[in-house]
């Protein structure tokens, strides 16, 4: 069927509302962020161009620390999410009674309002009366109360654990779906040849899961890099900035201190990193897709 002109026009009419909407609410702000990053925009009425002053100002030791921290935080969070999430998927893929229920029970962290799950973690991390500190004391593993959110190193890990908790259901369900897409006859053929369960897992399941693992890690990387709610609710980037990631830093500068220009410069840097991740994602998934065709 040749593409007729009226068809193309019809397609564009269908697309127009969504295209317009996203242009105004996403594309325009993206451009505006870039423009603002070269101004001294703030609550003042007047705004003037300041060239690259905002960028000069942020490239200092503190900001380098924020970038490194963001990457370390993200890397640990994604890695742990993938390990726990894949582990859960492997377990829930076993044909045992009750697995339908177990799968449903995996979903709550993802589906309840995020902030509410984080409140619960906030209480569990409480030093005087919280569950984790309390349990550790009852078991004699620590001597006194541990206020997890009050110290830099523990707060860093506490926020990671909560981020992992929210991200795991997505990884598990995705990996579960990928596992169920593996043709059953592969297993049956191996089984007929006398291959054991563990051997089948290592030689069939794992290799065929690698593409999904790569795809999921990259999706997870983008989402985790953007993580805001968890750190903001638990620590607001503290103590002493030890959980301040780039997103939190941008929010504090722009919304907290009303320095829109400086905040925009930080946001532009985040966008650059995200674009790199996104291009990598498209390339990798494209390569994986064409690899499967061979």
């Amino acid at each position: 069927m040749s593409v007729r002109r009226s068809t193309v026009i019809f397609a564009w009419i269908l697309l127009l509302p969504a295209v317009l909407y996203v242009s105004v609410i996403v594309a325009y702000p993206l451009v505006d962020t870039f423009i603002l990053s070269f101004t001294d925009a703030s609550l003042k009425k007047t705004t003037k161009w300041v060239g690259t002053a905002n960028y000069d100002k942020i490239f200092n030791a503190t900001f380098a620390e924020v970038i490194v921290r963001t990457f370390v935080w993200t890397a640990f969070s994604v890695a742990i999410k993938m390990i726990i999430g894949t582990f859960g998927a492997v377990m829930l893929n076993a044909a045992v009674p009750g697995r339908a229920l177990f799968r449903v029970l995996t979903m709550p962290p993802w589906i309840v309002p995020m902030a509410i799950g984080i409140f619960m973690w906030g209480w569990m991390y409480n030093g005087q009366f919280g569950m984790i500190s309390g349990m550790l004391q009852n078991w004699g593993l620590v001597d006194g109360p541990v206020a997890f959110l009050a110290h830099g190193s523990t707060a860093f890990w506490a926020t990671i654990i909560t981020d992992v908790w929210i991200g795991v259901p997505m990884v598990t369900l995705y990996m579960l779906a990928s596992m169920q897409a593996i043709p059953q006859d592969l297993y049956e053929a191996a089984w007929t040849d006398g291959a054991g369960r563990f051997y089948r897992f290592r030689r069939i399941t794992l290799p065929l899961l690698v593409p999904s693992m790569i795809t999921m890690s990259m999706l997870s990387l983008i989402a985790t890099f953007n993580s805001f709610d968890i750190i903001w609710i638990l620590t607001q980037g503290g103590p002493n900035g030890d959980t301040t990631t780039m997103i939190i830093d941008t929010y504090r500068t722009a919304i907290g201190s009303k320095k829109y220009g400086e905040g925009a410069a930080r946001a532009v840097l985040i966008c650059i990193f995200l674009s790199i991740f996104c291009i990598a994602y498209f390339r990798v998934t494209h390569r994986l897709a064409s690899g499967e065709g061979r």
């Binding site: 269908l14 993206l30 995020m114 983008i222």
Partner: protein, 285 residues
């Protein structure tokens, strides 16, 4: 006995291992909910005492009554959350259904790039674009209204909606459209009378996932673009209490549980659609 049944038969130690693994995994997932629920049953005196006790002694549902008094806006917050999510879902559907059809059926110059551009929206969180969005909402004059939370919320839910529904619509046989054309139906008529009825299950899945996404992610826009108590969605309404020096934890947890109840009921009713919906397009991309 058939082969699949034999292949799936586990020895006793394998079963023990699998159930142990599932137990450890679900403990991590569910412990905050279990702890949160037990906290909501504990009287404050027991809560703020050491040593820590996991099980509530003389637990009661008192907090579920008293919270309505100590969190005066509670009913309003829940209403706001539902109201915002409902409007967001409606707007998303209006925008997503036609574009998903266009992407599923028509190939024209730039359609691939446009689809990629839509998907790329997914990689930006609202947090990155907060400054211009704030200025935009201010110039629209919608700061401190429902719109300030609805308008940006919609934009970030469009991409996954398009992707999901496009995948679904591509599975509808093309012959149906063509048969309608041959009978002299217009494009618009075909979409409305042929495609939409068949695509209803897919549209339902998109509606559910959008609603849940919107219900679960009401935080940053509500935190930044609205300061009026009467418009606050549940997470922000409760956050105001969370931030205080003396948090009444049992009531906060009780309120949280009542607040998440609708989502939990939805999960159980819709679980089949959810798993299908949330992971659609995931495997075959």
């Amino acid at each position: 006995m058939s082969q699949p049944a034999m292949i799936n038969r586990y020895r006793w130690y394998e079963l023990v291992g699998i159930y142990a693994g599932i137990f450890v995994f679900l403990s991590f997932i569910l412990s905050p909910f279990v702890e949160g629920f037990l906290v909501s049953l504990k009287p404050l005196g027991l809560l703020f005492s050491s040593p820590y006790r996991f099980w509530p002694q003389n637990g009661s549902f008192d907090a579920y009554r008293s919270m309505w008094v100590s969190v005066p806006g509670f009913a309003r917050y829940i209403f706001n959350s539902f109201f915002i999510s409902t409007i967001v879902t409606a707007v998303v559907l209006v925008l997503v259904v036609p574009s998903a059809y266009a992407f599923a059926r028509f190939r024209f110059r730039g359609s691939g790039a446009l689809l990629a551009a839509f998907l790329a929206v997914n990689m930006f969180s609202g947090a990155v674009l907060l400054i211009p969005l704030f200025r935009l909402m201010r110039s629209f004059g919608v700061l401190n209204t429902y719109f300030a939370m609805i308008v940006p919320g919609v934009a970030f839910l469009i991409p996954s909606g398009i992707w999901l529904l496009r995948t679904y619509m591509m599975r509808i046989p093309r012959e149906l459209d063509e048969a309608a054309f041959v009978d002299g139906a217009s494009h618009f008529y075909t979409l409305r009378r042929v495609i939409l009825p068949i695509a209803m299950p897919g549209i339902t899945v998109v509606a559910i996932t959008t609603f849940i996404g919107s219900y679960a992610q009401q935080f940053i826009f509500a935190l930044t673009f609205n300061s009026k108590t009467e418009y606050m969605p549940l997470p922000i309404g409760l956050y105001a209490y969370f931030g205080r020096q003396e948090v009444v934890w049992n009531e906060l947890m009780a309120a949280s549980f009542v607040g998440i109840a609708p989502a939990v009921v939805l999960i159980f009713l819709m679980q089949r659609y959810l798993v299908a919906g949330l992971t659609a397009g995931a495997v075959k991309q």
